[in-house]
């Protein structure tokens, strides 16, 4: 409840929450709301010249180049984008947490080695790496999610590492250790709970970047493959006709809380 009140006091956060809810509803209720099948190429979906139908009339947002209903495609596209956002980001945060905690807890040469590797990954041009991976592997929804996760875990690892380093030095860990607690107990019962807020913040913040990255990959034609709709490949396919995009503002609330 406290969180809700806090959010309501900030208009930006409220707005963010509203956008998230809207997308969530659109994604979950896609089969209910969508007036047409997203993959069906409608007989009357194109003008006589074969151009897409403009918005209005039977098709609320018009049709795309193949005569498919744009509204339906966008609703189903929300699903794809959201699945990728959640899966990719979930994996990224998990890897980041694991590497960060282990390196921060072990310290010594093993921890050092892990963090040097993280530094190395930071020097990598992330977008380029994602494009190379996505293009050379056969693209599919899951591959795209994996690729994004592989690129995005680095920042999480860095932050978790710093926090763990700080936690390990604290007195309660020392106390726990002198009571004879094992590594597993210390890690999972005493350090991990302290990292939950960080994980949540990154988990939600990261969804936005993930969705953006997915859209970028799909836009380049190496993300989610047609006929599966995603917000990125919808734009990619209708580039020449260009529909204005109402989903620009997609940034979760926690960033402003």
């Amino acid at each position: 409840m406290r969180v809700l009140k806090e959010i309501c006091r900030q208009p930006a956060a409220l707005f963010g929450l509203a956008v998230i809810l809207l997308v969530l509803v659109a994604a979950l209720g896609a089969p209910l709301f969508a007036p047409f099948d997203p993959d069906e190429q409608m007989f009357d979906g194109l003008t006589l010249e074969g151009a897409p139908m403009p918005p209005g009339g039977q098709f609320a947002l018009g049709t795309d180049t193949l005569g498919r209903d744009l509204l339906s495609r966008m609703l189903f596209g929300a699903r794809t984008s959201l699945i990728i956002g959640l899966v990719a980001n979930g994996i990224a945060v998990t890897i980041g947490l694991f590497v960060g905690i282990t390196a921060g807890y072990l310290r010594g040469w093993a921890g050092n080695l892990m963090m040097r590797f993280t530094d190395l990954m930071m020097a990598f041009p992330a977008l380029l790496l994602a494009i190379v991976l996505a293009a050379l592997l056969k693209p599919s929804l899951w591959i795209v999610a994996m690729v994004i996760a592989l690129v995005n875990w680095v920042q999480v690892a860095r932050i978790v590492y710093t926090e763990t380093r700080g936690l390990v030095e604290r007195d309660f860990i020392l106390a726990e250790r002198s009571l004879g607690a094992g590594h597993g107990r210390i890690l999972f019962l005493h350090i991990l709970p302290h990292l939950v807020p960080t994980a949540i913040v990154w988990g939600t913040l990261g969804i936005a970047t993930t969705v953006l990255l997915e859209a970028t990959l799909s836009f380049l034609g190496i993300g989610v493959q047609p006929p599966d709709p995603s917000w990125g490949n919808i734009i990619f396919e209708s580039q020449s006709y260009f529909q204005a995009a109402p989903w620009l503002v997609f940034f979760p609330a926690p960033s402003s809380c």
């Binding site: 990598f124 977008l127 380049l220 260009f242 997609f250 940034f251």
Partner: protein, 306 residues
């Protein structure tokens, strides 16, 4: 200071070496086969094997890597599979275009960001502040390609003020640079705003005001210089980001830069070029961070003394 520089340089070389190793392993572990790609669809197994031998791809991975690094330390990035040219030459030919775009983009985002961020900070809490921060919010969360297409549609296709795509004249730079500038400006505006609000609350600003200095003079001489540090850090990061991250903008605007080179190479599985571009980008990222770390003490004496 000097020992720090040397230490950082050695670190940088090691990181670069690491990036080369990881990319190398990654590229060869992927299922794409450059020899088959080059040979074409109807090639016999013999032809593919010949090409593979010719490119040295039939040797063990370690041998190939040692060979590659051997060339690398001599400044040799290898030869492109498809274009039969030195990769270094290809990259050098594309570099001016990307650097132009990078410079123009960074200039614009700093300009937009500093102006908007300052205005927001000076009107803190007001309608102007909220409007600016809301726009910054949109700028930060909008996908690059959407903004690029939007600008293209309005200013090139509809109004016809700027050319659709290409490279060469000053008019060609405007739209791609504005795309990068608009998107980046959001980050800068947020940062400048918070840095300036910080500085505005300092005692020395009150003193400057109390001395009777004009508002503009206080802002320009006392507030801005003290708020500039995070901007330098951001520019450092952007130098790296833009080198490897302008693939999309270059693709939309047909800008013949490094990103486009990489994009073509990726589609043809031209591994030497992919390696070369990745290394160039990594070098830019490292150089950008180094730049930020080295410039900071020069402009801020507080850091120097530590």
């Amino acid at each position: 200071m000097l020992s720090l520089l040397v230490k950082r340089l050695i670190q940088s070389v090691l990181i670069l070496f690491g990036v080369a190793a990881v990319t190398f392993v990654l590229l060869y572990a992927l299922p794409a086969d450059p020899a088959r790609m080059l040979a074409g669809r109807s090639a016999t197994a013999q032809t593919v094997a010949n090409i593979r031998h010719e490119l040295g791809l039939d040797q063990p991975l370690t041998v190939q890597f040692v060979h590659y690094v051997g060339g690398l330390v001599q400044g040799d990035l290898g030869r492109s599979y498809t274009q039969k040219t030195e990769v270094a030459t290809l990259i050098a030919a594309r570099l001016p275009a990307t650097l132009t775009l990078m410079a123009a983009g960074i200039l614009l985002e700093v300009l937009f960001g500093v102006v908007l961020g300052s205005i927001a900070a000076l009107n803190r809490g007001g309608v102007i502040d909220r409007t600016v921060m809301m726009s910054a919010f949109i700028g930060v969360s909008a996908p690059q390609f959407v903004v690029a297409l939007l600008l293209l549609y309005v200013f090139a296709a509809t109004l016809g003020w700027f050319p659709m795509s290409g490279y060469g004249t000053a008019a060609h730079v405007v739209l791609p640079a504005v795309t990068l500038g608009l998107l980046g400006a959001g980050w800068y505006a947020r940062m400048v705003r918070s840095a300036m609000i910080d500085v505005l609350n300092q005692d020395y600003v009150r003193t400057a005001r109390a001395k009777g200095l004009s508002g503009a003079r206080v802002i320009l001489r006392h507030v801005l210089p003290n708020a500039v540090l995070p901007i330098i850090a951001m520019i450092g990061i952007d130098i790296g980001q833009f080198m490897g991250g302008v693939v999309v903008v270059e693709a939309v605007y047909g800008w013949p830069g490094i990103g486009q080179l990489a994009w073509q190479a990726i589609q043809q599985v031209d591994i030497p070029i992919i390696m070369g571009v990745t290394l160039t980008s990594a070098l830019a990222i490292i150089a950008g961070n180094l730049f930020a770390d080295l410039v900071a003490p020069v402009i801020d004496p507080r850091i120097r003394s530590n």
